[in-house]
Amino acid sequence: MTRTPLRPLARILSARERGENPDSIERENIRLRQEKVRDRARARAEGRLLLLGAAFVIAFAMIGGRMGLLAASEPVEPRTADVGVPINAGRADLTDRNGRVLATNLLTHSLYANPKVMVDPARVAHELAAILPDEDEKLLLNRFTDGRSFLWIKRKLSPEQMQAVHDIGDPGLLFGPREMRIYPNGRLAAHVLGGASFGAEGVHSAEVIGTAGIEKALDAQLRDPANEGRPVALSIDLTVQAATQEVLETGMKMMNAKGAAAILMDVHTGEILSLVSLPDFDPNDRPQPLLSGDPGDSPLFNRAVQGVYELGSTFKILVAAQAMDLGLVNPESMIDANAPMVWGKFKIKEFENHNYGPLLSVTDVIAKSSNVGAAHLGLMIGQDRQQAFLKALGFFDPTPVELIEAPGAKPLLPARWSEITTITVSYGHGLSASPMHLAAAYATIANGGTLVRPTLLHSDRPEHGPRVMSEQSAHDAVLMLRQVVTRGTASLGDVPGYEVAGKTGTADKPRPGGGYFHDKVINTFASTFPASDPKYVLIVTLDEPVETSGTAPRRTAGWTSVPVAAEIIRRTAPLLGLRPAIEPPPSDAVTLARN
């Protein structure tokens, strides 16, 4: 750029000649120069502003365009997200204590139809009726042609059925994926597991919800995605459960009983290793509840938890244990057992009108199962203390076991606890409780007197409940129970090596109109083994059993429940890893002598 001088000599000289001030030329030039600089600076600033404006416009346009694109596009799963833990929305599995599957999910398909796009509804209805046996062709055709645009046809299809439906080849038939709950072991532990069905249903998925048993009781936990589908381990041992069920079913048939229940429980942890109620059902195909008749006769009825029965003489050990705990008696104390005992207008008799009296030791009251002896023990304790003790053992509340049926099975208590109630409750009448209550009470005695809460969830740690009775009286009570088996009413219950200790109970069934049946009984055998260091409690209950091998039909627990329980112990104790106590071998003929 050529620089124009501020004072050009030619113009200065001519200005001087004209007598003008040459400085004005310089000022004029300075002004021009400054104007030029200003114009240039303005142009540059304008350019920059334009550029900045354009940049902003472009940036906003990009953001706006991107937002529009995002708003208008289909959402997709992020592909680059870390492939760590996938969200597991499925229902968690149930396993037994060793991890064997009790309930799991299987992917199947459901079938639905869109009749609006169906090509030939008549043919589809005809062929579907041939594939799905429980569908009616006419009904299907009616539903296909009544103008609706959606209908469910079947919730679960087997793969073969699905292929057959594919082969129909009609565009109006559509499939949706369905998680389905299956119980691979069939009828085994049916009353524990309960069953499952579909809740809210959509085309793409359906909720699986528990309908009974532990599936319903733990529904929220099993469905919680926070658990990431971790299986829930139950306390049930599948092998033991299978053996118990097999023996109990055979025993129920042999004893001509119409129902049976068995509970095997760990006395230290309260875990239920086996819970059987017969007759049972297949949870994969849960039957409908009975609409008429006694719901207790339905296979759905869980006799071990829901069935509240007068448990009979099995209660006598409770009164004996309490009397010893209060220091009123010791196992050798002599008790008035002179039958019949008259109390007001009531007459308390023994089985078959025996009289074991006039005096019996407390041990013999239990071993011979004397009603009168137990009644006197109850009177010594008194109403209030008896109620408090039974309440502490949990006989006044439903059992806390994790089944949806458990809270509904409240024990039936007498309305007024009079002295005669104390007497009858002492030998197990007038108060109805479930076998599960009895199992918890016997476990409390067997583990040394601390309360046991029955549970169906696997736990490793022993339970330390509040103390209900002293260790010494609990120990004495177990020794008394052992006497019942070695020389009392449960002599058929002895299993060599396992030192079974237990108490029989035979209770007449109450007649619906009042009074009792004389030929219908509930037989219970409540036992614990091995007596020297009790580890397990087994309760076996038979409903209306009769043993017919003798000349007259026998209905006492000693002839019915006890042999069944003994066989269950003989089969399950080795499975539990319980080593039989070996009797000392006979000493050699040569005796060691020392001089």
Binding site: T80, P86, V101, T104, G186
Partner: protein
């Protein structure tokens, strides 16, 4: 000098463009692979749960009991009995080495040793 710099910048832009193009397609290919793999994993997981259910179904105690009964001639399986528990002193443990008799060499002829 300036022209060389311009030429270098131009070449760098071309090179970067080519690199970005390749990276873009490589990323898309990797994402496709990943989604294929994820589908495969989901499929395998489903298959695994089916296998697990099938394993449990085939190992259900009822069936094992029936199989044990049917194959009793060959296997002779019976329920576990209390008598099958043993004690450790009933087990024949191997003797400590110093109590073992020395082995006779196989080539020694016993008749030759008789004087």
């Amino acid at each position: 000098m300036r022209a060389v710099l311009h030429a270098l910048c131009f070449l760098a832009v071309i090179g970067l463009g080519f690199w970005a193009y390749r990276e873009n397609y490589a990323t898309q290919a990797a994402l496709r692979d990943l989604s294929d793999l994820e589908d495969e994993i989901a499929g395998l997981r489903d298959a695994l749960s089916v296998q697990r259910a099938e394993w449990a179904y085939l190992n259900r105690p009822d069936r094992l009991r029936e199989l044990a009964t049917v194959n009793f001639d060959r296997l002779g399986l019976l329920p576990l009995e209390p008598e099958q528990f043993g004690q450790t002193d009933q087990v024949a443990f191997p003797l400590p080495p110093e109590l073992l008799l020395p082995e006779i060499a196989p080539d020694a002829n016993p008749e030759e040793q008789i004087p």
